[in-house]
């Protein structure tokens, strides 16, 4: 045994050091940042299924976290290399689809915009891109899953004139009366953008028609920016919004600056195939990204000094309704001090007060508060901390 002392000693030291390091590491992993919500008023049931994404800064280190309300706070930078590769932090919607239809979901691009689900069907419509030397060949990749029979049908379709497009993407998939409707957005190689509608027959898997809904052009010193606004849900939707802003290069004191010369907001009714212009007040145009449609009412939330203001527009009658105020008396105005999301017929907003972040959940239809609470961080040793919330889903 004496002859072996060197190797035995080295082995023991190695084992003890590496072993104790990993025991320490696994203990430390448990006691990290933890987000907590402290109720001020309302119903805690509103928090069910909510996920908060944000950053937490201590000194010069920023920690990126995902918090499932009433559950664990996961620090994204704390994950190991393999965890980073294998745990996807996809949206709830995608996770649920994968759990329910594991085989159907294989090899799909996991963006909610590419999916549609109702009681009997799941439809996927992605774009396959075949990268060539100086162009991209685009083709549709459409799969339909019949939930009852578990049968999968595919509709292959090559897109014509792909060399004229710089980019091609699906923005929404809907199923109406036995027809699959795809709305696509594409940019042209020589400037400008298009929104096209493709209608397929579900029964025979055949392309019925294509229609150009919107096209913008680019001239030498002016161009148009297009935004497509709709909920990132996979449930049936009846309306989709398009905003086009015309911008121009204007010379001011020797400098060129961009100036918005016009805005237009249009709503497309997917069922009746009608494109209608909405008379949008200028001050609300920038707020349109924060909007949602419930039944046939469009809700737009805009930031005001005292909190938020909800404007509503009736898409059938084409008229603006009464504005509702969401008063957040402790709201401290400033850079990146508020995050708002409209979903499930509710408004969710996390905003900064002098005592830290607070969460407000309100009903869009009635404008009433459903839950208010404080967002607190525990389990941290840091003296200087900064919380920043950038997504609630």
């Amino acid at each position: 045994m004496k002859r072996y002392w060197k190797i035995v000693l080295l082995s023991i030291i190695t084992l003890v050091v590496i072993g104790s390091f990993y025991i320490q590491a696994s203990l430390a992993a448990k006691d990290t940042l933890q987000l907590e919500l402290e109720k001020i008023s309302g119903n805690e049931d509103e928090l069910k299924g909510l996920t908060i994404h944000g950053d937490y800064g201590t000194g010069n280190l920023t920690k990126n976290f995902v918090h499932e309300v009433n559950g664990e706070t996961i620090l994204l930078n704390n994950r190991s290399v393999i965890e980073e590769l294998t745990t996807d932090i996809n949206s709830h919607i995608m996770k649920k689809l994968i759990e329910e239809h594991r085989n159907f979901m294989r090899g799909k691009d996991l963006f909610p915009d590419y999916f549609f689900e109702n009681e009997s069907l799941v439809v996927y419509a992605g774009v396959k891109r075949d990268y060539k030397f100086n162009s991209i060949d685009f083709s549709f990749d459409i799969d339909v899953l019949d939930k009852k029979s578990n049968e999968i049908k595919s509709i292959p379709l090559d897109l014509p004139d792909t060399e004229t497009y710089g980019w091609y993407d699906v923005v929404d998939v809907e199923v109406v009366d036995g027809q699959i409707i795809l709305l696509t957005r594409s940019s042209l190689v020589n400037g400008g953008e298009e929104v096209n509608e493709y209608t397929f027959d579900l029964e025979n898997q055949k392309l019925l028609s294509t229609e150009k809904l919107i096209s913008t052009i680019r001239t030498d010193n002016s161009w148009t920016e297009l935004s497509v606004i709709h909920d990132s849900s996979i449930d049936p939707e009846k309306y989709i919004l398009f905003k086009t802003s015309t911008l121009k290069d204007v010379e001011k004191d020797g400098y060129f600056v961009q100036e918005v010369t016009g805005n237009e907001v249009q709503v497309y009714n997917i069922e009746t195939k009608q494109l209608k212009k909405i008379d949008f007040p200028d001050e609300l145009v920038d707020a349109i990204d924060l909007s949602t449609i419930i039944d046939s009412t469009l809700y737009v939330s805009s930031r005001v000094d005292s909190g938020l203001e909800l404007s509503q527009y009736d898409l059938e009658k084409d008229e603006w309704g009464e504005k509702k105020a969401v008063d957040l008396p402790k709201y401290k105005n400033g850079y990146e001090s508020m995050y708002t999301n409209l979903m499930n017929g509710k408004i969710y907003t996390a905003y900064l007060t002098d005592e830290g972040y607070e969460l407000y959940i309100g009903d869009l239809r009635t404008g009433k508060s459903l839950y208010e609470g404080k967002i607190k961080v525990s389990n941290t040793s840091s003296k200087t901390d900064e919380l920043y919330i950038h997504l609630i889903e």
């Binding site: 190797i7 190695t14 590496i18 390091f21 010069n60 190991s80 290399v81 090899g107």
Partner: protein, 276 residues
């Protein structure tokens, strides 16, 4: 078993002196690195504060605090780790070839030992693994000391303190020291597979000499191809068919397959083909 352990001990002692030198260099270089980097930050801070008439907190605001990252990213750290890595990589080859070079052909005596010849192969692999893990343990032992020295030299206002765990999470160190034990085993398992592939390639060369170099290269290529097969298929033919977790398991299976292949072929060569 006893023969195997004796062989491991024998191989271990053959490299031990050089190993101690490696440990010594690492210790001295890293400690000097901590002292030099900390002092230079502190001196520079004092100079700038005097010139620009800044208070300590103003300086930190403008120029940023110092953390252990400034040290672990410096040449003092990267250099020693690279030195240790390169030395061990060279030794992966030398552990075999030293038996053939020199005045008396040692390989002859080694292969005449009354034990299974595969033991020689496994003992050499075990020795490499021990040396690698020993150096990782050394780094883990040094970090808390170095962290403490850093804290002594740089006053608190200028520092962002990191724990040893946080230091190992940063930058390249998380490749040497992954965050959990499972990953550690996977990483070093894959590393040892690579070492064994090289061993078997060396045995090809030792068996068929000049032609063997060609065989060895082909063998390495095939091994790498098998190892990467799941990833290559996923990216080309299967169009992301597998979920990430499934892919990980396939990769582990491919790695085990390649490892088993290396040992099996290595055993055949060392038993029947190797030339003294």
């Amino acid at each position: 078993m006893k023969r195997y352990l004796k062989l491991v001990n024998f191989e271990f002692n053959r490299f031990f002196k050089l190993y101690l030198v490696l440990i010594g260099i690492t210790f001295v270089a890293q400690m000097s690195g901590v002292i030099v980097e900390s002092k230079s930050y502190h001196n520079q801070a004092n100079e700038i504060m005097q010139e620009d008439l800044l208070t300590q907190s103003e300086y930190v605001q403008q120029y940023g605090p110092m953390s252990f990252l400034n040290i672990s990213e410096s040449i003092w750290f990267l250099g020693t780790i690279a030195l240790c890595a390169v030395t061990l990589i060279i030794y992966v080859f030398f552990i075999w070839y030293r038996d053939w070079v020199g005045k008396n052909n040692f390989s002859y005596r080694l292969f005449m030992l009354p034990s299974v010849r595969l033991n020689i192969y496994l003992a050499k692999a075990t020795t490499i693994l021990l040396f690698v893990l020993g150096l990782i343990a050394l780094q883990l032992l040094l970090l808390p000391f170095e962290n403490q020295v850093f804290k002594w030299i740089v006053p608190e206002v200028f520092r962002t303190d990191l724990s040893v765990l946080e230091i190992t999470n940063l930058y390249y160190l998380n490749l040497l020291i992954p965050k959990n034990i499972l990953e550690f085993i996977l990483f070093y398992g894959a590393g040892m597979t690579a070492v064994m592939i090289v061993f078997t390639a060396i045995l090809f060369e030792r068996s068929y000499r000049l032609k063997g170099i060609f065989y060895g290269i082909v063998y390495c290529g095939v091994s790498i191809l098998i190892f990467l097969a799941p990833l290559l298929l996923q990216a080309s033919l299967l169009e992301n068919y597998f979920y990430p977790m499934e892919l990980l398991f396939l990769e582990i299976a491919a790695c085990v397959l390649v490892l088993a292949g290396a040992i099996w072929i290595g055993n055949m060569l060392i038993k029947n083909k190797v030339r003294v």
